[in-house]
């Protein structure tokens, strides 16, 4: 990235704000901070950020609502921060348009990796969207519906390919159960997590060297799945 990106951090805890401002400035980001939801929305409107880091537990308004209000006018990536055991809130925020999440406490490397993935995803426009996704020994041609593993063709069913294609085109990002079920199956099937579990096992058996220790498709407990491509690995 040629220009240093604008980051807006919305969090009510001064210690977190202090740490994030120090670290992100060090990493060459332009950092704006807000400790309240309304303040964050105002700052975002005044100076549109390239990425928003949003804490879900704000004193003045629900983080999920901040997410929804931002999504009314901007498609900039939103990464939410939340505590453990708030899976429902995380899923709600992700379904309301947030791009990714981190559970507090988190390592800074993890945060930076998520920020990079989110920024890359948002700058990836229709034309330069590559149709070939590579992940270790795996190569997926989204346009030609062709999947190979270590050079050998992998035979997939129509649903398995649809599932893999959805994950691969959102590589690096977490996808909620609901969003996968809605896209790959049907909005009416959004609650049938069992479809997803069964097909995911089938898919892993075909793609992973050791299905018990998946390297390509990671389970995000209580949230959904994440596909790891080479470009997202550091």
């Amino acid at each position: 990235m040629s220009q240093s990106p604008n980051v807006l951090v919305i969090d009510d805890e001064p210690q977190i704000l202090r740490a994030l401002r120090t670290i992100l400035t060090e990493k060459d980001f332009k950092v704006t901070i807000a400790s309240r939801g309304e303040e964050g929305l105002t700052l975002a409107a005044a100076n549109p950020p390239d990425i928003v880091i949003l804490d879900l537990g704000l004193p003045d308004m629900d983080g999920i609502e901040v997410c929804a209000r931002l999504r009314e006018w901007t498609q900039c990536p939103i990464i939410i921060l939340s505590v453990r055991d708030a899976e429902r809130d995380k899923v709600a925020a992700l379904d309301k348009g947030a791009d990714d999440y981190l559970t507090k406490p988190f390592g800074i490397e993890e945060l930076l990796a998520r920020v990079r993935v989110a920024l890359r995803h948002s700058t990836r426009t229709g034309s330069d969207q590559t149709s070939l996704v590579k992940a270790r020994d795996l190569s997926i041609d989204l346009a030609w519906h062709h999947v190979t593993r270590a050079g050998e063709e992998v035979k997939l069913t129509a649903t398995e390919f649809k599932l893999l294609a959805y994950l691969a085109s959102n590589r690096g990002r977490v996808l909620t159960h609901k969003s996968i079920l809605t896209h790959v199956w049907d909005p009416a099937d959004a609650d049938h997590t069992e479809y997803l579990r069964v097909y995911m096992r089938q898919l892993r058996k075909k793609l992973e060297a050791d299905p018990d220790h998946p390297q390509h498709i990671l389970t995000e407990a209580g949230i959904g799945y994440r596909f790891l491509a080479d470009e997202d690995k550091e």
């Binding site: 055991d85 519906h145 129509a158 390919f161 069992e194 018990d212 998946p214 407990a221």
Partner: protein
Amino acid sequence: MRVATFSSRFLGYVFAIGLVAVTTTAFYVMRDALDTSLIALLLLIPVGLSTALWGLGPGITAAMSVFLSFNYFFIRPYYTLTVHRPSDVVVLLVFLFVAVVISQLVGRAQAGLAAATAREREATQLYELSTALSGVHGDQTIARILIEYIQVLFAGECVKIVITGPQSFSLQLPTDVTPPARSPELTLPIQAVRGIVGEIRLWRTEPAISSSEKRLLQTFASQGALVLERAALVQAESRAKVLEESDHFKSSLLSSVSHELRTPLATIKAAASSLRGGQVGWDSPARSELLAAIDDESDHLNILVGNLLDMSRIESGALKPQKQWNILGEIVESVLTRMRRQAESHQLKIDIPEDLPLVPVDFVQMEQVFTNLISNSIKYAPTNTLICIHAEVQGDKVFVQVSNEGPQVPPEHLDRIFDKFYRITAADRVTGTGLGLSICKGIIEAHEGQIWAENLPHGFAFNFTLPLTLDGAPPPQLSIEPEIL
């Protein structure tokens, strides 16, 4: 009913006169064969019978009629009512006297019997009520039983029970009737030791509420008050017990936590301050070691805080599993991915059949169960030994076993290791809050499953079972479509 009493009383007079007529006729036939004084004696029979059967009024009527017929038919001159001799007046007086005395005696006996019957009925009703109320705790249930008994016994237009206090409510029978606008015919307070706890209102005009009924209702009210009082005491006691337990839990928690939290904090503080103080060179291996210590210990702190949160959630009953059909193997895989570094010291074997049905569980909570059981195994079993995770279907349940080659646990401790803060070994040997296994127990029980520990011939195992049905439905069977690409 009043009409009926009147007519039955009137009938008594008719019967008395009839009886006199019948006996007079009978003796009249035999008049010449019998002595007058014997007839006088025999004529006492209808007087006595009438009094005994129909009461004082008919008795006196019988006495008068007997005297008249005796005078008319049996005393010379016949067919006149003239009294010639003073002894005849004595006969009349004797007849009247006998009638009065018998009626008094019979009346008293009857009244005594009626009172005894009424008392017995009251006692039976009271006994039935107290039997129905024994062992009942809820205020609502108590009031409902009370009102049902009152309605059956008193058959009023409407009965209402109003319970006052922190949880006030009112009950009414029959439920589909609105209580009359007029004030109730009988209002009784439900008087407990701590004061008036409610009120019984009875609307009944026909028949008017008798004093004995009023007394019975009062007894009912005080019986109800007693039971309500008892229920309140039981509630207060169980609240006190819960508070005591939670108090005990909190004090054990504080003592455990202050120690457990301070250990990682001390490490972090020491490492951070020595790095900040500049005593450690930039490239020295000590530097990366200190940084790793800070990182590891803050993870450790995070786990401790998570355990405390989980435990308080279990304690307060707020742990509600979000059950969905899941693949058990995927949960285990997700746990092992996260625990890989921690588990490097041991060999892990996963023995979960490929065709194991989907299990209805909360993914995140089951992850917690496996994490705690595996990390417990890692803590106690010697390094480089095998930890095995096995699952199989047993009837309508899935059985899961996490076994290790660690030391056995004395049989008397097997049940207690799931207790909070329970440790078999000295606390300083192994770190942790002592909550991990009780959290597992809380989660498994919230899933309606069972968890227990078991000594194996060469090790130790945690076992648990989980039901395989979700809202009564069996695991879904999904068919995989054929390969078409």
